[in-house]
Amino acid sequence: MAKEAMANKVLMIDYQKCTGCRLCELICSVKHEGVSNPSRSRIKIMKWESEGLYVPMSCQQCQDAPCVAVCPVKALTRDETLGRIVVDYDVCIGCRACVAVCPFGAMGFDHIDRKVIKCDLCDGDPQCVRFCEVGALEYVEAERVSVLKQRDAAQRFSSAQKTAAAIQAEM
């Protein structure tokens, strides 16, 4: 794949499709740490079980990333080739300022290795995406995200209109 294309790809989450199985958490912890342990996963499913709502949360690789801005030793930088924020563990002092500032809670702290952890997009082949058969996670070009979302919203809108029309016809 051309480098420019990779640079522009993002992890797209469609929480409606998520079945809450947490395979992504398992895959992530095995891929990065060789262990099954969701507490060391870079992705996490937030659950509201009493209403069946599951929302995968991961790093958004922000353009204007608060974690980069807050890092006192410049251990966090933007890797333009993959469009991601990376941690330089040789520089990181483990102050966890980035954990505190992240608006998504996507910067984690590995309690076993005592280091901050975040999604690295598996160097361009995110394994969570590869294993998510329902497509709740996709790795797509950034500009495609809004188009895909628009299409989805339009579809819902149109089916809602059809229902409304059917109700009107019945009245």
Partner: protein
């Protein structure tokens, strides 16, 4: 690593807790889960104890592959002496409890004694604490779980809990986790209730080291594709287990009006496709949820669309609920099935047993054996949806004479009711049958008659028998990993070769129950789904344990024999491996042309049982032969290895 999870012995009478490692030699003998639980039950109980007394032990476990990369490694197993049957009690549930138990450092819990007041266990990262549960007593299964999370301040806690039915010692109360995952059968919830144990809460952040992580990831990808590409998995992922209704009711394999008919006519409202429409209407297009790590996602989410519980969220219903609240009581409303499912989940009640017993009571009512005096005025005729729902409340709360009687289970209730009531009870070993009507399927009939936990379809059912697969396909499946050259028949109405299929499936299901994988990921409903060959591989990649398909087969055989030894010790004889008379005496009256008239032939069925015993290495009384026990290394039980 995946093998370093511990066993904990918890004595609720003394408040004493002891943890120990599980030796590798024991792992190789039983792997984990149900197999090791069976060994523990045999070794940690005295014969003839009261199932609801402090001497019973409650065993809670994860499989050896729990939380690893082997697809759907979610299963929790629970075992004890059953208060319903007096024999082996055993139940299995999906969800997220077992993986969390493993991340908390444990694989097996042996819970003994009885707490003086309501308590719950709090298990986290190697620590176990007994905590007061007075404030949780009386709460529903979900209320209890959410209250524990709030109290301990962690939304990721997973709990296995009992509801009001378990507190009231309803002999078929279950243990539940999440919204609807139920260790449903044989009354494990009543055993928990008898110990004053309301819940087991777990939370863990400990590593489970994967032996060969890179290979395990790649193999898992392939494994998942194998599972999700099966047509049956796709169907199940769309419609959930209710899809089975479409494979049984159309030709006449669903018992209706208790056991008067074998097909639920014009019951279109409770078909899987209709239930799926309701889920779509009330939740949206993406309404299927999954257990831990599973890509089949067979669990539907729904809200009850109307009626007194309109708007209430729940999950399911499963195939079981269609029969329990549809076929058997001859009710035709999806709302009734959804409501019955919801109430059973909230009360923590085995809905299969509840629906089956209520339908039995309905037949007794119509036969005049039960009168409106016995029902406190309730018009308990077939097809009365409101009466059905009311009986669920009464059983769970032991309300009224009949509610209290039925809460005791079929055999005890029959004694209380008297007259000819026992004649109408559809059970094996005191446990009610699923709503499937096996009169046209001798293989399935043999399975329920011989299942180790009483009448049950999840212990040995060769469900693929219904597909009439070509003989060469059957031979491929059933000659592996142990060779078999005897007869096999594609026709599900046949008797020939079926005992081998039942024996094979029984060993297969025991295998996954030891591994902790879901049965829907085995050769249960589809011939292309994984079996021993595949498990040998995933076991090695995840745990490093090198066991051939035949080794795993032998573990399963060993565990099946321990279960048998346990049952025999508790008084089981050949007579208990038998069906009620109606299977032999009343022919099917509905269904496909040649199904009408079908019934089980007594003599042929006896021969089937002989043959089945022979495959197991048991004598004509169903007792394991000394050489069988010796071959499996269990000729000196109890051996107290753990």
């Amino acid at each position: 690593m995946a093998l370093n999870r511990k066993i904990a012995y918890i004595d609720l009478s003394k408040g004493k807790i002891e943890t120990r490692p599980i030796p590798l030699e024991v792992r190789k003998l039983y792997l984990g889960g149900r197999g090791l639980d069976a060994y523990l039950l045999y070794n940690h109980t005295e014969p003839n104890i009261d199932p609801l007394g402090p001497d019973n032990v409650l065993l809670v476990s994860a499989g050896i592959l729990g939380a690893t990369l082997a697809s759907a490694t979610s299963r929790t197993h629970i075992m004890a002496k059953s208060p319903l049957t007096g024999f082996l009690g055993s139940a299995n549930m999906g969800g997220f409890f077992a993986p969390e138990l493993r991340w908390a450092g444990f694989d097996h819990l042996v819970i003994k004694g009885r707490a003086e007041r309501p308590v719950y266990l709090w298990i986290h990262n190697g620590e176990i604490e007994i905590r007061d549960a007075s404030h949780l007593w009386g709460k529903s299964t979900t209320e209890t779980q959410w209250a524990i999370r709030k109290e301990l301040g962690d939304e990721d806690i997973k709990s296995a809990v009992i509801g009001v039915a378990g507190e009231n010692l309803v002999r078929f109360a279950n243990v539940m986790t999440g919204i609807k995952d139920a260790a449903g059968r044989t009354g494990m919830g009543a055993v928990m209730g008898s110990k004053n144990l309301k819940a087991i809460a777990v939370r863990g952040t400990m590593d489970i080291k994967i032996a060969h992580p890179v290979e395990a990831l790649e193999y898992n990808k392939k494994f998942i594709t194998q599972i999700t590409s099966a047509k049956v998995s796709q169907t199940q992922g769309r419609l959930g287990t209710p899809f089975i209704w479409g494979a049984t009711n159309p030709w006449g394999g669903v018992r209706t009006r208790n056991f008067q008919y074998n097909q639920h006519l014009y019951a279109d409202d409770i078909e899987a496709e209709r239930l799926d429409e309701i889920a779509t209407e009330t939740i949206g297009p993406y309404h299927m949820a999954g257990c831990f790590g599973c890509q089949v996602h067979c669990r539907a989410q729904y809200r009850i669309p109307s009626g007194p519980y309109a708007g209430v969220y729940d999950e399911g219903p499963e195939y079981t609920a269609q029969g329990a609240f549809g076929g058997e009581p001859e009710c035709r409303s999806a709302i009734t099935v959804l409501t019955g499912n919801h109430l059973s989940n909230q009360y923590g009640l085995d809905l299969l047993e509840a629906g089956s017993l209520i339908s039995w009571a309905m037949e007794l009512y119509e036969e005049g054996i039960l009168t409106s005096k016995d029902t406190d005025g309730l018009d308990l005729r077939f097809g009365n949806d409101e009466a059905l729902i009311e009986m669920i409340h009464r059983i769970a709360n032991r309300k009224g004479w009949l509610g209290d009687a039925l809460a005791e289970g079929g055999l005890r209730a029959a004694e209380k009711i008297g007259k000819d009531s026992i004649k109408y009870l559809i059970h094996v070993k005191g446990m009610s049958n699923l709503h499937s009507d096996e009169r046209a399927t001798p293989a399935l009939a043999l399975g329920i008659a011989t299942a180790s936990r009483g009448s049950d379809h999840l212990r040995s059912r060769p469900a693929i028998d219904l597909y009439h697969l070509p003989e060469e396909v059957l031979r491929k499946v059933y000659s592996n990993p142990i060779s078999y050259s005897g007869p096999l028949s594609s026709d599900h109405r046949e008797y020939l070769g079926k005992p081998w299929q039942v024996f094979w499936q029984e060993t297969c299901y025991m295998g996954v129950d030891c591994l902790g994988i879901c049965k829907y990921h085995t050769t249960f409903l589809g011939a292309t789904l994984p079996n021993f060959e595949d498990w040998s591989r995933v076991l090695y990649l995840n745990t490093g344990l090198e066991m051939s398909p035949t080794d795993i087969w032998t573990v399963a055989e060993r565990a099946c024999n321990i279960e048998r030894l346990y049952n025999i010790r508790e008084g089981l004889t050949r007579e208990h491996d038998w069906l009620v008379d109606r299977y032999f005496d009343e022919p099917c009256r509905r269904g496909a042309p040649d199904v009408i008239g079908a019934k089980i032939d007594r003599e042929k069925f006896k021969k089937m049982i002989d043959e089945y015993y022979e495959h197991h290495g048991w004598d004509e009384n169903g007792v394991p032969r000394p050489e069988t026990l010796k071959r499996l290394g269990i000729d000196k039980e109890p051996s107290h290895l753990l």
